[in-house]
């Protein structure tokens, strides 16, 4: 009963309190942190890589690094900012590694054949929530349009608009100024408006 009460209490903790609890030896606190962020983070990385299995691996790697460096976390930024920053670095490293190795995934190859320089959509093999055909098509078009954005605009847009981070957090994650973050997100929206003109 006491253990169950402890777990229940821990789940109500804020992120910083959970990190502190973990550093004091409470591993349940870290499980709660993982549960809180694992879905969002894996989807965020997948939004960059389009490789769900690899995204899950990198998401795990993010938590492992957080685990190891938790004692260095000083609460200067929000915990989520720190988490997203590590995940972003890992995802970008992965993209660079793929480019260096010349590993062309089917997705990239299809992009090459795309006449309007926008990647062609891949069928989503994962289970998706119950959506109508039109809604699915609309979602696919949106994803494709976001994917076709230049990386710097895409990352800023996804963090702010999809992951729902604030402008300040987005700037901190990407290690850019607040003004630059706003400018990139603004530019991303303008580009998306152009690309999705048939839907808007």
């Amino acid at each position: 009963m006491e253990e169950a009460a402890l777990v229940r209490n821990v789940t109500e903790f804020g992120d910083n309190a959970l990190v502190s609890a973990y550093l004091e030896g409470n591993e349940t606190a870290f499980e709660v942190l993982m549960t809180r962020y694992q879905g969002r983070l894996a989807n965020y990385i997948n939004g960059i890589l389009h490789d769900y299995d690899r995204s899950v691996e990198l998401c795990q790697e993010t938590f492992i690094r957080v685990f190891r460096n938790a004692h260095r976390y000083q609460g200067k930024y929000q915990f989520s900012t720190w988490l997203y920053r590590i995940a972003t670095n890992l995802a970008i490293d992965e993209l660079r590694r793929r480019q260096r190795k010349g590993r062309f995934f089917l997705y990239n190859i299809m992009e090459l054949f795309s006449r309007d320089e926008r990647p062609m959509p891949l069928p989503d093999r994962r289970q998706s929530p119950d959506l109508t055909y039109d809604a699915k098509q609309q979602r696919l078009k949106l994803k494709t349009a976001i994917d076709s954005l230049p990386e710097k605009y895409r990352l800023a847009f996804i963090l702010k608009e999809v992951q729902d981070l604030s402008y300040e957090e987005t700037a901190q994650v990407l290690n850019i100024s607040l003004g630059t973050a706003k400018s990139r997100i603004h530019r991303a929206k303008l580009l998306l408006r152009e690309k999705l003109s048939d839907l808007l």
Binding site: G39, E61, N89, Q138, L200
Partner: protein, 165 residues
């Protein structure tokens, strides 16, 4: 406010209802009104992407497993470095002992600096060893200016770069 300023304001936030000037402009300007509607629709569509795909059920167990694996591997790093150090020292002694006048040896004025530079943000960890030697004295051991040992957690690999004599 002109249209460009309105566009910037709307692109930054759609919470503009409180601003009478913006409202007035939107009523009068069809282009800005359309721009505002487009951004609202885009925001609604984007919100739909927030629906999470669940991670595999074994996700957390795998994290703890991978963590225990890397902890185990870490135990071997120090002994390996020590063994390499002993081999290197032995090689220096053996090679230098054969000659009456060694080609190179540590200078008395040499200074060494060890710096552990461990990035917080998930960057690669660097162990940097810098050795500065004074040109004074008969022999100077010329070590690489920087010995960088990289350890990548993704691939569990260690290697030495920038080594030159």
């Amino acid at each position: 406010m002109n249209c460009e300023q309105i566009h910037e304001l709307l692109a930054e936030s759609l919470s503009w209802e409180w601003d009478e000037e913006v409202m007035r402009h939107l009523k009068e300007c069809h282009e800005c009104s359309k721009f505002c509607d487009d951004l609202k629709t885009l925001a609604e569509m984007t919100a739909d992407l927030q629906n999470e795909e669940p991670v595999p059920p074994e996700f957390q167990n795998q994290v703890f497993y991978r963590l225990s694996q890397s902890r185990g591997a870490k135990k071997f790093v120090t002994p390996i470095i020590l063994i390499l150090g002993v081999i290197a020292a032995g090689s220096f002694y053996w090679y230098g002992g054969d000659k009456t006048e060694p080609d190179w040896a540590p200078a008395s004025s040499a200074s060494a600096e060890l710096q552990l530079n461990d990035e917080l943000e998930g960057e690669t960890t660097f162990l940097e060893v810098e050795v500065d030697s004074s040109p004074e004295g008969g022999y100077i051991l010329r070590l690489p200016s920087v010995i960088r040992i990289k350890h990548s957690n993704l691939h569990e690999e260690s290697y030495i770069t920038n080594v030159s004599h």
